[in-house]
Amino acid sequence: MDEPNTDVIQGTLDMLILKTLSLQPMHGFGIARRVEQISKGVFKVNPGSLLTALQRLERSGWLDAEWRQTENSRRAKFYSLTRTGRKQLDIETADWRRRTAAVARLLNAEG
């Protein structure tokens, strides 16, 4: 139990996926790797949860998906952000900022 917890903070996986895809379309593994790299290994995404989340986000209309060739000429399912997805990202980001700011204020409060 000494290993640091690398689980994605509950409820933030959708936001992380949307944010990652806002830069460019990506396939599942690409998203996982990007999250891990940018968070410098703090978060490791569970593949099962990730693929299920992608399914859900696509159903909700925030993502589009299409099968494409990758650079090493393999087929992969690429996800890209839709317009409603972008709006959703804005909403979730604003919400997250508001809440972390509140947490920060609480933690910083003296005596």
Binding site: G28, F29, A32, N46, P47, G48, R59, S60, R74
Partner: protein, 881 residues
């Protein structure tokens, strides 16, 4: 848009499951492949990279399943999976499934059928606007039963009461319609002008009756029912305003009622004409006869109770403008109730009892199916344990069991609807003649919903019990237990249910037994005459030719003469009132001996031809019978029945007494004879006061007489010859209601009989279900205890001892059930008291008989598993598994 997307994707996934699965699998594989490539890029060996990638994603199948299981369509898929599985389970155990489905179908079907029949009669509002405002008003008869009102009473109430929007009186009318191929005797009503307005309905075509129609010598107008209009006039609207011929008189068709109009007060009526009574009349006129039924529509905001209070005040406070006669003095007030209550008064106890019985039956059916499911769940410990071990969670198991029981309930419910369809027809077929609103009885939407709700509730209830039972067990322990048959699992729940089942069955059987005893006792009651070989029919004279009384009298005389000559006829007579036919015709009586009494009471009026007593075999006790010389113009004489004479003249000096009967026209009747008592309305009612006289010595001439014929052999076979004999006198006279006296006798007990037949049917089903329950629990228990029994046998228990062991178990359950059921029966039979006849609801013979019957059936049901237990071979039992 998102919803649309959800739906479209879901449907696509459902429609092409294979492709969707493939896509998910591909994506997961891709992921693994990318991860492996990434690990290689970080310097892992190909083998280690694969391992690491696999480790990341965990169980590939689980990951696929996780991704796959997203989306609403998967819930549906699981449901279908569950259903398929449940259907397979039910198929592998056909004995269980068939018994369960049949039990449910009978329970639900019978409940739905009875509810269908009872609902429109007792509970649904009558088919009129604001039906709760329609009241029925009756006068008090002897022993406080309601009797019809007189026109005089109606006239006074209509003028003085302020609680009603409209009031109406009416009486039966049976005109003969000519002009078609043959004369047709119709059932109709003579009604006062406001009849349809009181009910709140109006003719579809034409006009309603007006006050101007309802006066003496008013116009001959008639309103037709939709059925008669369609049948006789082909639905031709131009008939309105034209004339039709009724009883040789011409009537103008004023209107036609809509097809949905249901005439609750007289369901058979096909046409209506105005009553046309005099509004000023003397005490000896028909306007003071108790022969009109009365209804009223209370004003908005006034309750029927308010109206009853007002009518009560009017009854007590006489006013000079409205004189009353002693037999309609209203001294005891009036009986006011809702029309619905009034028309269902007679059948209500029987219907409520049957409704109660069917609820008991449904309860037994539910208990039985629950027991079957429990017994089966007990055999499936192993299966559940195995599935839990393979990863099925508890809720999944509960859902599976719920699906199974719901499937059973739905199949049972569907079959139950079939049973209900048939059952409703049977109930209508069995229904007593007085049952109101029979035409409104059918399996309707409300009842279907009722059946469906019952089905679903049963499904959930019987589903939850085994599911809770199964999931409460420690599944791992269950896995072991499945292979080690020890003396565990006493099945307390199941035993309790069997006890309940036996108890419920006992209540039903006791009720059925009490009804059976009542019917037996009723038919043992002497009718006062010999019912065998007696044929009865109604003969009516219709038409202008009979406008003179002498012609009427001659027709009946000639007809009787002709009938007597028919070979096979021993004796024949006419009577104005036929015993056990359901008719009553009473008139006020005033004996010369007691001058003081105001309200003299009334007696049944039998205007009979002299041979009536011989034909019916009513014994003469004292004095003389009526004879041929007692005709108009001769001294008026009457014959009394025995109990009437005894009550009025306890000293035995009835002969020679003088009395007024009906209107007082100044002349006395003299009592010349006393005959035996006869049951007029029903076997269960007490002796009724009766006065016999000859038709020609009565105040008026009867148009409608009943012919009674004593046959030498088979009575009904004489019918054609007798008809021909009457028609040889006049071929235009309708003859109706041909029946043997034995049929009338059976019909007079139709309400009890109706209840009895249904109770017997339910009782038999309950007995069978209880037997199945006992058998099921014992055979389950025997197969669970095989090992224990084997040990006992190995240790020297004889097969007789083992037989006794199991039998004792069965009989103990039955004994508990009987004890509980006795308590229930003591309570439940209270509701039955009205239907019983000289049978106590605690009748010991019935209780003992039912207990013996249940005990016997329990013994038979226990003996099969007991016998199987006694044959257990210890060597095999101990080595089993």
């Amino acid at each position: 848009m998102s919803l649309w997307r959800q739906l479209a994707r879901g449907l696509r996934a459902l429609g092409n499951r294979a492709a969707t699965d493939h896509e998910v699998a591909d994506e997961v594989d891709d992921y693994v492949e990318h991860a492996r490539a990434a690990y290689i890029a970080r310097g892992f060996s190909p083998h280690d990279a694969m391992r690491a990638a696999r480790l990341d994603i965990g169980n590939v199948t689980a990951a696929r399943e996780q991704v796959r299981s997203y989306g609403w369509e998967n819930a549906i898929e699981t449901l279908f999976g569950d259903l398929r599985f449940a259907a397979r389970r039910l198929r592998t155990n056909p004995g269980f499934s068939i018994v369960a489905v049949i039990t449910l179908a009978l329970g639900i079907g019978a409940t739905t059928a009875i509810f269908s029949a009872v609902n429109p009669i007792l509970f649904a509002p009558l088919p009129y606007p604001h039906a709760d405002r329609i009241a029925a008003i009756s006068d008090f008869g002897a022993d406080d039963t309601p009797i019809d009102v007189t026109f005089g009473t109606y006239r006074e109430l209509a003028a003085r009461s302020r609680s009603f929007d409209a009031m109406s009186v009416f009486k039966p009318w049976q005109p003969t319609l000519t002009g078609g191929s043959e004369p047709d005797r119709l059932n109709g009503q003579r009604v006062s002008a406001d009849f349809f307005r009181t009910l709140g309905v109006a003719p579809l075509v034409g006009r309603d009756f007006q006050a101007a129609d309802d006066r003496p010598q008013g116009p001959n107008v008639v309103i037709l029912s939709d059925a008669l209009w369609q049948k006789r006039f082909g639905g031709d609207r131009t008939i309105v305003g034209k004339s039709i011929t009724l009883d040789d008189d011409s009537y103008v068709v004023a209107g036609i009622m809509p097809s949905h109009f249901e005439n609750v007060p007289a369901p058979n009526a096909e046409l209506w004409a105005p009553l046309q009574y005099n509004t000023s009349f003397t005490p000896d006129s028909r306007e003071w006869g108790h022969h009109l039924r009365m209804i009223g529509r209370v004003r908005a905001g006034v309750t029927i109770e308010d109206a009853a209070r007002e009518l009560g005040q009017i009854s007590r406070a006489r006013v000079p403008e409205f004189q009353r006669v002693p037999w309609a003095s209203l001294d005891r007030g009036l009986i006011v109730s809702s029309l619905q209550h009034n028309v269902t008064r007679v059948v209500r106890p029987a219907l409520l009892a049957v409704l109660g019985a069917v609820v008991l039956l449904l309860a037994i059916a539910c208990v039985n199916v629950t027991n079957l499911l429990l017994a089966r769940a007990a055999h499936r410990h192993g299966e559940f344990a195995m599935r839990a071990a393979l990863g099925a969670d508890r809720s999944r198991l509960i859902r599976q069991l719920l699906t199974e029981s719901l499937l059973l309930a739905v199949i049972g419910g569907a079959l139950g609807m079939l049973v209900a369809e048939v059952g409703v027809r049977v109930v209508v077929g069995l229904s007593p003649p007085g049952l109101p609103r029979v035409n409104a009885i059918h399996v309707d939407v409300i009842v279907f919903a009722f059946g469906l709700v019952v089905t679903t509730v049963i499904g959930v209830v019987i589903g939850v019990i085994p599911a809770v039972h199964a999931s409460r067990e420690d599944l791992r322990f269950g896995l072991q237990r499945a292979s080690v048959r020890t003396a565990g699992g006493h099945g307390t729940t199941r035993s309790t249910l069997v006890v309940a089942e036996v108890a419920l069955a006992l209540i039903l059987l006791v009720s059925a037994g009490l009804l059976l005893r009542s019917i037996e006792r009723l038919f043992a009651v002497p009718t006062g005459f010999d019912t065998a070989h007696l044929l009865t029919m109604q003969v009516q004279e219709a038409g202008r030719q009979f406008s003179r009384d002498s012609a009427r009298v001659r027709f009946f005389d000639d007809a009787l003469e002709a009938v007597t000559r028919v070979p096979g006829v021993e004796a024949a007579a006419f009577t104005a009132l036929l015993p056990l036919s359901g008719e009553t015709d009473t008139y006020g009586v005033h004996f010369e001996a007691d001058r003081e009494a105001k309200d003299e009471g009334a007696a049944l009026r039998y205007a009979v031809t002299p041979d009536y007593f011989a034909t019916m075999r009513i014994p003469l006790l004292r004095g003389r019978l009526l004879d041929r010389h007692d005709v108009a113009g001769m001294p008026r004489v009457v014959v009394l029945n025995e109990s009437y004479a005894k009550r009025r003249f306890p000293k035995g000096d009835a002969l020679g007494q003088r009395l007024h009967f009906g209107p007082d026209d100044g002349q006395w009747y003299t009592v010349v004879g006393i005959v035996g008592d006869v049951r007029q309305s029903s076997l269960s009612l007490g002796d009724e006061d009766a006065i016999y006289l000859t038709p020609s010595q009565w105040h008026w001439v009867d148009q409608l007489m009943s012919l009674v014929v004593r046959a030498r052999g088979d009575a009904i076979a004489l019918t054609p010859a007798i008809r021909q004999a009457i028609w040889s006198v006049d071929k235009n006279q309708p003859i109706v209601r041909v029946a043997t006296m034995d049929e009338l006798l059976a019909r007079s007990q139709a309400n009890r009989h109706f209840a009895l037949v249904l109770f017997e049917a339910f009782g038999v089903v309950a007995l069978l279900l209880a037997a199945v329950g006992i058998y099921g629990v014992l055979s389950g228990s025997v197969s669970e205890r095989t090992r224990e029994i084997g040990v006992r046998a190995a240790l020297g228990a004889s097969s007789g001892e083992i037989l006794g062991l199991v039998l004792r178990q069965g009989l103990t359950l039955t004994a508990f059930g009987v004890a509980v059921g006795l308590g229930g029966a003591l309570l439940a039979t209270r509701a039955l008291v009205v239907l019983l006849f000289s049978t106590s609801r605690l009748d010991p013979l019935t209780y003992l008989g039912v207990i013996a019957l249940l005990g016997g059936v329990a013994l038979v049901a226990s003996s099969v598993p007991a016998w199987r237990a006694s044959r257990v071979d210890p060597a095999i039992a101990l080595r089993a598994d």
